[in-house]
């Protein structure tokens, strides 16, 4: 997994609540057996004017000029500003794959859906929960100032605005450690091999029907 320690990046504001994983990456692209290549289909139904199908050359497709990701001022954004309950819906990890593949690294919202939030950390993405009023203020500042950037520091758990204001955020210690170092969970879990084996041996006695 790609590590993330800090970055300074352009902010793109997606001003709607309950953005679901079907919107993030529509189902027709879930047929892929690969982990990569989803970025061109991120928000496909909102981003393009035609109907997207797997395997298209997306550079030839008509863009929806009203969709925020298509606006020239937000090209190259690395930070997505979103509303409440971002990532609700399915467990498809294709959603964070698409977001990461597009080039985004940090997501800021008043709340994320549980499974999506969890999936982000497995893919080098940092989802940050801030109070709704702080998110609202960041939306207003992003709208007001073309080229609006934020500095995100995972080590210090803080966001620095262009005016120098510092917004702190919480992150689970285990997830932070993995993201800072680019570690995958499996290797870490297998350090507890003995405990897993011991648990399993006891479980075979306590609940033999699970092992037949």
């Amino acid at each position: 997994m790609r590590a993330l320690t800090e970055l300074t990046g352009l902010v793109v504001p997606l001003d709607r609540a309950n953005v679901d994983t079907d919107a993030i990456i529509p189902k027709q692209f879930l047929k892929s057996i690969l982990r990569s290549g989803f970025g061109v289909n991120l928000f496909d139904a909102w981003r393009y004017l035609d109907q997207g199908e797997p395997g298209q050359d997306c550079s030839q497709r008509p863009l929806n000029p009203d969709f925020v990701l298509n606006q020239p001022r937000y090209q190259g954004a690395q930070i997505l500003l979103a509303r409440e309950n971002f990532g609700c819906g399915s467990s498809r990890e294709h959603a964070p794959w698409a977001i990461a593949d597009y080039g985004l690294r940090v997501l800021i919202a008043p709340g994320f859906a549980d499974i999506f939030y969890n999936n982000c950390f497995k893919n080098g993405l940092l989802p940050i929960v801030l109070p709704a009023e702080q998110v609202e203020r960041l939306f207003q500042e992003t709208f007001a100032h073309p080229g609006y950037q934020l500095h995100v520091d995972l080590v210090k758990q803080e966001i620095v605005t262009p005016a120098g204001e510092i917004l702190t955020f919480d992150v689970d210690a285990h997830r932070k450690l993995c993201l800072l170092n680019g570690w995958d969970d499996i290797g870490l879990t297998l350090q507890h091999l003995g405990e897993i084996r011991a648990y399993e041996a006891q479980r075979i006695i306590d609940a033999p029907w699970l092992f037949s």
Binding site: R16, A17, K31, S90, R92, I115, N119, A173, E195
Partner: protein
């Protein structure tokens, strides 16, 4: 010290390791696998040279991509076919039991788990699918995971997890005639909101929940994720045991006795404390119909499309307006004045035998309205299809102008050929009314099977209680 909740008991009994910061390793008893969220996980194992920890804990089935028509011809969509064939290959390589597309046991992963007794009380059940919450109906801890976690469970039999907060939704009273678990689920989501359950594991309890069949409890727990809760659950009672007994993978003889003794303890203690308690009066619930693009956008069939201008905050107002535009609806329109183009009865929410019986009972001897272009029934599994045919339900559906299809996820998410065309409006028994969910530009209204059948007959939504 107060007693334990059902969730506490399930969590505690699966804890392998815990860290001071609250992160934990949870042992996974059952891993259900399907074709969409597993290929990259198996590929990850191969690349790292890892083995599957306990292959017998996993069972796989293709469901999302499979065609519901002309199955003997195979899958014509080459991309879908590759994904299903990849599952076949991965299961063969890693020694995982798979119910292939032409096996009578094939069906929607959340239907076949309980049907085969692969889902048992007291288990931890995971699957790379958010509707895994369904299995909580058996007093199991069941939740959806991403593909990285699928790989993690395959490799380690564990998940890195943090304990959720606990919520009890207490449903008092009893559901009225014509009101189903689906209506209750939608009414609860309408009350909590789609993020109301975020961070919680929900236990559904109370007299109206105890009175539900296991099929109904599965419908309720299935929709817990639509309230944001990763897991939904119902305590074990006699109905649970009766449902499980005799299933192919259920224990027998003295092992059953041992299992039952433990399963009977899988209830929240009387003095258990929940982080949040919500009460719903089941007697007040009427048949529900969603009007927007989020399951929380729901009203009773006796109501009307709400006016976004009446909504409390700016974000809700703009989302409400956007939803009305997408749905092609005007505020204040009575729900019963909304005409439908298609009717879909199926999905992991409502494709079980009880659902098909409820729909068939409404249709009996009648025919769908001429204005309804397509009405289809997609049973949840091959065995449900077989049982429905033994009961003659297929003939009722066919006589009513419905199509009778092969089992799979079908038009719930339209990964196969079953989908809405842009602008088409559908009465669907599935679980999500998101933009484009059933096909780009399609408009979904979530309802119960009986309500979907009634809409097919009338050509528009009607109160099934009047039928």
């Amino acid at each position: 010290m107060s007693g334990q909740t059902l969730y506490d008991k399930l969590w505690q009994s699966h804890l392998v390791h815990s860290e001071p910061d609250g992160s934990a390793l949870l042992y996974i008893d059952r891993h259900l696998v399907h074709e969409v969220t597993s290929p990259q996980a198996f590929e990850g194992l191969r690349l790292a040279g890892r083995k599957v920890w306990r292959a017998t804990s996993a069972v796989a089935v293709p469901d999302h991509n499979v065609p519901t028509l002309n199955r003997e011809q195979g899958i014509t969509d080459a991309v879908s076919r590759l994904q299903v064939e990849t599952l076949d290959r991965n299961c063969a390589e890693f020694g995982i039991v798979e119910y292939g597309m032409n096996d009578v046991r094939q069906g929607i992963v959340h239907v076949i788990g309980p049907e085969q007794g692969l889902t048992l009380p007291g288990m931890t059940v995971v699957c790379g699918d958010s509707h895994t919450s369904t299995h909580g109906a058996f007093g199991a801890l069941a939740f959806g995971i991403g593909t990285s976690e699928v790989e993690h469970v395959l490799a380690t039999q564990c998940l890195v997890a943090r304990k959720s907060r606990s919520m009890r939704v207490w449903v008092k009273g009893r559901l009225g005639v014509g009101v189903t678990a689906k209506d209750l689920a939608l009414a609860i989501i309408g009350q909590l909101g789609t993020a109301g359950g975020t961070g919680y594991a929900i236990e559904f309890a109370g007299p109206a929940v105890s009175a539900l069949s296991l099929e109904g409890r599965m419908t309720l727990c299935n929709m817990a994720i639509e309230a944001g809760a990763r897991a939904g659950m119902v305590a074990v009672d006699q109905a649970t045991l009766d449902y499980v007994r005799g299933r192919p993978a259920a224990p027998t003889g003295s092992v059953w006795e041992q299992a039952e003794a433990w399963w009977r303890t899988l209830v929240s203690d009387e003095d258990a404390q929940f982080d949040c308690e919500v009460t719903v009066n089941g007697s007040d619930v009427v048949p529900q119909v969603t009007w927007g693009t989020s399951p929380e956008m729901v009203v009773g069939v006796t109501g009307a499309v709400p006016d976004p201008d009446d909504m409390s905050d700016a974000v809700k107002r703009s989302d409400g307006q956007r939803a009305l535009n997408y749905m092609g609806l005007t505020a204040h329109t009575p729900i019963t004045a909304i005409a439908v183009d298609k009717v879909f009865i199926g999905s992991c929410t409502n494709s079980r035998i009880e659902d098909l019986r409820a729909a068939a009972a409404v249709l009996k001897g009648r025919h769908k309205a001429a204005s309804v272009k397509l009405a289809m029934v997609v049973p949840g599994s091959g065995l449900i299809k077989r049982q429905a045919e033994a009961e003659g339900l297929d003939k009722l559906f066919l006589a009513a102008g419905f199509e009778w299809r092969e089992p799979g996820c079908s038009m719930c998410l339209a990964m196969n050929a079953d989908r809405l065309e842009p602008g088409e409006r559908c009465a669907a028994t599935s679980n999500r009314n998101f933009e484009g969910r059933q096909g780009a530009g399609g408009r979904t209204h979530l309802v119960s099977p009986a309500m979907a059948a009634a809409a097919a007959l009338a050509g528009h939504f009607v109160d099934v209680r009047d039928f």
